[in-house]
Point group: C2
Chain length 495, copies 2
């Protein structure tokens, strides 16, 4: 049976993916510093084997033949996803992939060096090359997939997401936020005028912060027998579903950023740990895509972890581990702090979407050719002034040179962050319709009902549906800006 | 060029070996407990890919064609080792390998369960099956390699080692030890009668023991930028030469066993870290074999780490980290403690070889068919009485069921342990002929000259020579029992 051949292939690919996932997590956590060069060689070698096996021409025959075979419903779904993955992986000739990989690596290395020097001019030629290649890539993907070029890029990260569906949602959100950011800041000012901020600083031993993180992880549903918490320079969630590796970084004088980081990565981890185990070797058994994954991390970090109800339960837990005597009114202003800034990764949930929409708009124009790389700084500055009232004129390092995505050739990825925020709010709203007492659950430290809903509607579905289908099935409607806007209004707006 | 194809293949194999090495070390140190099943699946999958690639029939053509090509000396040496490896890996039909792997795994699982129950009768059928298969294996290997069956098994672990060469050496050692063990025990008794043993017990926090271990590792030459020290249930040295993972286990009430374990594994690690980097992807660039590897760990543990001169330097280091005020005369009786016992892995350097020789003699008879598995307990008991004056009658768990080797089908491996001890003593003697002040070096904590000798004579040679050739080139003579016997006499004998 051809399906059996595909199934066997999937087991082989899973072994290589397992190795790459663990080696990647290990590199950032436990590898000796001198081990990097050989690790990079080994991972490139394994990735090459994985790609060669996953794009083997005879797979096309198996995919076709398997379509004629008698398959149960799961197998049919597995076959659909296998087809989708095979098509996406074989869109580009390998000669092109090699050329593009070299260009991306060179541009990324250059970017690391030149960002620190704020040197846009020296970086530009390399970025122009990456942009030229991504246009070529988009057009090849578009032709094979029958999609618009930018949609064909997004399809890699969030199957089914289309600019035509996202544009009106982002447009509504942008219009709202341009007015709402000043409102939220004014509300914050007013509150601080009445009651000054209690400084977060203190003495928080790392081992105790780690224990606090572990106890929060366990409480919100992380299975500590199938995962672990380590330290790395950049926090991440990696590993494999049976051994999810999350990391954070600690500061001895402040506990909130590490803790919120742990909650964010725990959100990713819950998705991975609760994917359908029996499908784990099939693409069908994997997380749906970047936006859905981000919706799961933001669900835990923003919908749960920054919810005042959650802090009624969490504050005593913090006190137990850190011996600190905080009042809810003292901690919440930190949890809900809003600030206009130039840097996306430092942004709060109110201003963050404007950073993303700016990039989303610019990268569509870059891919279509309406904007050239040389014109990015002016366009960036104009949008920053318009959306956030800040200028990046001459400040490339904190402007268009701040992210690795474009130097690394990842166009079509940025929208996932804000789509994730929207989806998380929409999921929370849907969940609350079924469980009107969800906030009470949080304030009692009960996460079972919340997680049961997520397991049934998101986690257990793997990659069975496209991203928009998954959202519609889970929440009863297509993606909307409304729930996120309501969420921000309620948390940050005028009473 | 066919050699280039082989070279490219070696890079691919190195990537898979890298993954297996790191995944293996990770499993014992950092893996979540629930990750074991998928890890085993992934590692079996990767090992299968490695085997399939390394035994690809077209390699035979490349090996032949490369022999006609113009190669430099290193490449010629690489080709020799590639041929040797290919021959050893393709001796057995894959149908047989699968049958044997299943039998070994079943027998090993059964052994884990039944050893605890001291249940030899239930274990026997499974061991009989393993023995039958190893006879089949030995005869296939023997035919292909033109060796005696038992030699063909040893050839996997220590290329070039032959029973005909080992027998007289082991025979001399056995004769010596049967008399010397009682002598060493009498000497020890006499000393203890004069000066009672100071108990080792105390309060030694694990973090401080770890720091002590790291500082000893660094002092004797371990490169901490290319390796690390972790905790695992069974100490080991794993990982890859650029990222050597060694482990130990700690007891809070006693520091010596963890420290000696660290020194032992550091000996393995120094070999790995100092293998020729430019050959790392070739079999030529790998450690020569099990006996030579054990000679490197025993060199650091026994020749250096239990040398009284070493403790003149080491004791102040211990004191610095653990704050303990030991006298040399108090610690050395622990470092040199001798005891007759039933368990090989707990044995000291005086009694250990008798455990090995017992197994070596029995497994030769098992492979040749002169002994049947059912008769092992009686034969074991007879030899234990003869060599160590102890009986294992009815005590299977501490007798023939104590080791994993036979249940796992590893026949021909046991001699490596004692060959390593002999080689270490012979190397130390050769080194001292060139550096008569080597003991002074140890007492001053200077390891450069010692390591330079080892690097030049052992580490840098990789797999360029067979095991006996390597020893002859390094020490100027073939393997001899003399140096180890002298070493034991000097350290444990009558003054």
């Amino acid at each position: 049976m051809s399906f059996d051949r595909l199934d066997e292939l999937c087991h082989r690919l899973e072994a290589l993916e397992h190795a790459l996932a663990i080696l990647g997590a290990d590199e950032a956590t436990h590898m000796a510093v001198g081990g990097g060069e050989k690790r990079a060689e080994a991972m490139a070698g394994l990735a090459g084997m994985l790609h060669a096996r996953a794009t083997d021409p005879q797979i096309a025959d198996w995919l076709e033949a398997a379509g004629e075979e008698e398959l149960n419903e799961d197998q049919q779904a597995a076959l659909r996803e296998l087809r989708r993955q095979y098509t996406n992986m074989t869109c580009l000739p390998s000669e092109f992939v090699e050329r593009q990989t070299t260009a991306r690596m060179r541009s990324e290395q250059l970017w690391r060096d030149l960002r620190e020097k704020n040197d846009w001019a020296s970086f530009l030629p390399s970025l122009e090359n990456v942009v030229a290649l991504v246009r070529e890539e988009a057009s090849m993907r578009a032709e094979r997939l029958g999609l618009d070029p930018y949609d064909a890029l997004m399809e890699q990260y969030d199957p089914g997401n289309r600019a035509a569906g996202i544009n009106p949602v982002f447009s509504e959100l942008k219009t709202f936020l341009k007015d709402f950011v000043p409102e939220a800041l004014a509300v914050q000012e007013e509150r601080l005028a009445k009651k000054p901020l209690k400084a977060l600083s203190g003495d928080y031993p790392i081992e105790r912060q780690r224990e606090l993180g572990l106890s929060m992880m366990a409480a919100v549903g992380f299975d500590l027998t199938r995962g672990s918490l380590s330290v790395s320079h950049h926090p991440f969630c990696g590993g494999v579903p049976t051994d999810v590796r999350i990391t954070t970084r600690y500061r001895g004088t402040e506990f909130l950023s590490a803790l919120m980081g742990v909650l964010h990565e725990t959100g990713h981890a819950l998705y991975e740990q609760n994917l359908p185990a029996e499908w784990s070797h099939w693409p069908l058994g994997k997380a749906r895509g970047m936006a859905v994954h981000e919706s799961q991390s933001l669900f835990v970090e923003k919908q749960i972890g920054r919810n005042p109800a959650f802090w009624q339960w969490a504050l005593p837990v913090v006190e137990k581990h850190l011996g600190e005597d905080w009042l809810l009114d003292d901690i919440l202003p930190h949890v809900h702090h809003v600030e206009r800034g130039l840097i996306r990764v430092d942004a709060d949930e109110v201003t963050y979407p404007l950073h993303v929409i700016l990039r989303y708009e610019l990268e569509q124009e870059l891919v279509s050719g309406r904007l050239e790389a040389a014109d990015i700084p002016d366009a960036w500055d104009a949008k920053m002034r318009d959306y956030l009232g800040l200028s990046t004129a001459g400040n490339f390092a904190d402007g268009p040179m701040q992210d690795v995505h474009w130097p690394g050739g990842a166009f079509g990825y940025f929208p996932s962050y804000t789509l994730g925020a929207l989806m998380a709010a929409q999921q929370w709203a849907a969940l609350k319709r079924e469980h009107p007492t969800a906030d009470d659950d949080l304030s009692a430290g009960r996460f079972e009902a919340v997680n049961d809903w997520r397991r049934a509607n998101i986690w257990s579905q793997g990659s069975r549906w496209s991203t928009p289908e998954l959202m519609e099935r889970a929440t009863g409607e297509s993606l909307s800006a409304r729930y996120f806007i309501d969420h921000l209004r309620q948390r940050y707006g005028k009473a």
